[in-house]
């Protein structure tokens, strides 16, 4: 499936992606409402945008007690808001810490890939975000990502 691919070395932590996400989904510029988040390690000058990776084993969906998290035919992991009771078990289950919560609506929220045309990618000036075909094996992705992070933080 097509996903948001992160070229970490190009990220400048400008946070345009967070603003684009928040504006397109919530109609306001508020990074706290963004479904993509730039993690910053200022000492190491290392910035890492992260959002839902729509992983194969879907720990969020596995623990959901109302079966509110399902996979669309195109592979997108989606929260069905009308079924979500806001219990946050999915937030506790996501090992990447990328399941979010919309306090006003009282429901979990994750990246929905903007239906196939992600706003964050469009507004990423340095080109750290790309919408591209990736393998669906989450472990492989995680492993690749880990090697990038490991290199950057090695020795710290």
């Amino acid at each position: 499936m097509k996903q948001i691919v992160v070229h970490q070395e190009k990220c400048t932590a400008c946070r345009e992606c967070e603003l684009a996400c928040s504006f397109s989904h919530e109609g306001v510029f508020n990074p706290a409402l963004s479904r993509i988040r730039v993690n910053d390690f200022y000492e190491e000058q290392f910035y890492l945008p992260l959002t839902c990776v729509h992983c194969a084993d879907m720990p969020c969906g596995t623990v959901c007690p109302t079966v509110a998290i399902r996979r669309d035919p195109d592979g997108t992991v989606r929260v069905l808001e009308e079924r979500c009771i806001g219990c946050k078990m999915c937030l506790l289950a996501c090992p990447f810490g990328v399941m979010g919560f919309a306090p006003e609506r009282g429901v979990a929220q994750n990246c929905d890939l903007c239906g196939g045309d992600p706003e964050c990618v469009k507004f990423c000036v340095p080109g750290a975000l790309e919408f591209a075909e990736v393998e669906t094996d989450a472990k492989a992705k995680q492993k690749f990502f880990a090697s990038v992070v490991h290199r950057a933080l090695a020795g710290t």
Binding site: P65, T66, I85, L91, L92, F101, K139, Q142, H150, L153
Partner: protein, 421 residues
């Protein structure tokens, strides 16, 4: 009516077992037997139904078609009264019997009735089954005041639902704090203040001694501390215990629940157990068996039991207690051992939003074994990362340099290259 796989229970563990049986065996006949009527509903969602935030329709987590598609025959409203392990069959309340090759006991938990004088003479409500929830909802619509006996998980969810219906509440909890299974002393103190701020009366460290119906129809409760409370509605939430109604020591070995090994096998060949009723291997080790009546563990165990019923040999690495809930505008979460024991080290993390309380427990070997959180909803995502540390038996020293201002995925994956794909 015999089937290769007979599953007793129709919730998290049983449904997960169906999924994994079908992963490995597409043909074998599956019969799912349940004492309650109808397809599976979400027990966790019941308080939200009581509060009017969900409709009855929203509660169903399976449709009749879902069972059909999996090739599962559902026998509902059919309580099991006995298991005959020699003949490999179970007996139903209506007199029928069902033979099995492999049996899964996933009968869940049932509510405990506390030793309160007069309990059976006054109308009280529980919040465990759909039927309970319907009864409580109907009663709550007419009530102005309520008493919740038990300040644990279910008691607090019931209280939250009743508060949303504008019912004036008193909560009685035996322990000196609310949610003793979820919060340490400090967390309990902070949470108790948040609940009191909402206008709820708390009676902690005491019990309800007697219940009696007054001529007005109201119920009077006399507490262990001498106080008296008069209310329209009483909810009993004094905890749950494994539902062993059809399981005797002659069927298989029983401790507090049904004892199972790491393959979710009971002491009796062909019989497996999973979910709330199963006393399983503790993820945190020590060779202990634990009872965690939680959804995620029920799903994990159901899957593994299901797979092993088809002949696989998948070992369970153990149940890790975890819970999260938003109550009275506070989000609370707990994973693993959140109360420090002898030799444990405690890390209190700052840097969160507002005045969140974030605690991590590290054992004497430096391994992260538990965490507790009290704060806003967003912070739970970080606890998800800590959850993955605990699951991977990660060491605190690998994270401590970066624990402020927030946990990150980046640190979680640092040592992942060891993961086999």
């Amino acid at each position: 009516m015999d089937a290769r796989y007979v599953l007793v229970g129709n919730s998290a563990a049983s449904l997960a077992a169906v999924d994994w049986i079908r992963k490995y065996d597409r043909e074998g006949r599956i019969l799912l037997v349940n004492r309650e009527p109808g397809p599976a509903y979400s027990r966790v969602a019941l308080p939200y139904y009581v509060a009017g935030e969900m409709t009855l329709e929203d509660l169903w987590i399976r449709t009749p078609r879902d069972y059909e598609e999996k090739g599962v025959e559902l026998l509902d409203a059919a309580p099991v009264v006995a298991v005959d392990p020699e003949a490999r069959k179970i007996s139903l309340a209506d007199g029928r019997s069902v033979g099995y090759e492999k049996l899964l006991l996933a009968t869940g938990s049932e509510c405990v009735a506390p030793p309160v004088s007069g309990l059976s003479e006054v109308p009280v409500h529980y919040l465990w089954t759909l039927e309970d929830a319907r009864g409580l909802k109907a009663a709550a619509e007419k009530a102005r005041t309520g008493l919740v006996i038990g300040g644990g998980f279910i008691g607090m969810l019931a209280a939250e639902a009743l508060r949303k219906l504008r019912i004036r509440l008193t909560i009685v909890e035996m322990a000196p704090q609310l949610l003793p299974q979820l919060l340490d002393e400090e967390g309990g103190k902070r949470f108790g203040e948040a609940v009191r701020d909402e206008g709820v009366t708390l009676e902690l460290g005491t019990t309800v001694r007697t219940l009696a119906r007054k001529p007005s129809g109201e119920i009077e409760a006399e507490l262990g501390n001498g106080r008296k409370v008069v209310v329209d509605l009483v909810v009993v939430a004094a905890g749950v215990r494994p539902n062993l109604s059809c399981v005797t020591p002659e069927v298989c070995e029983i401790g507090r629940g049904i004892l199972v090994d790491e393959f979710l096998r009971t002491s009796r060949p062909g019989i497996f157990a999973a979910g709330d009723v199963a006393e399983v291997v503790d993820f945190l080790g020590g060779g202990q068996r634990v009872l965690h009546a939680i959804w995620p563990s029920a799903v994990e165990q159901g899957r593994i039991a299901g797979a092993n019923m088809t002949g696989r040999q998948i070992a369970y690495d153990g149940s890790l207690g975890m819970n999260v809930v938003e109550l009275f505008h506070v989000t609370l979460a707990q994973i693993g051992r959140f109360r420090e024991g002898p030799g444990d080290d405690v890390k209190l993390l700052g840097g969160g939003r507002g005045d969140a309380y974030r605690k991590i427990v590290v054992d004497r070997d430096g391994v992260v074994v538990g965490a507790m959180y009290l704060g806003d909803a967003h912070g739970v995502a970080e606890m998800g990362v800590v959850h993955s540390w605990i699951r991977r038996r990660a060491r605190w020293k690998d994270f401590e340099r970066h624990h402020q201002p927030r946990f990150t995925y980046a640190l979680t994956v640092r040592d992942v290259p060891e993961v086999r794909t």
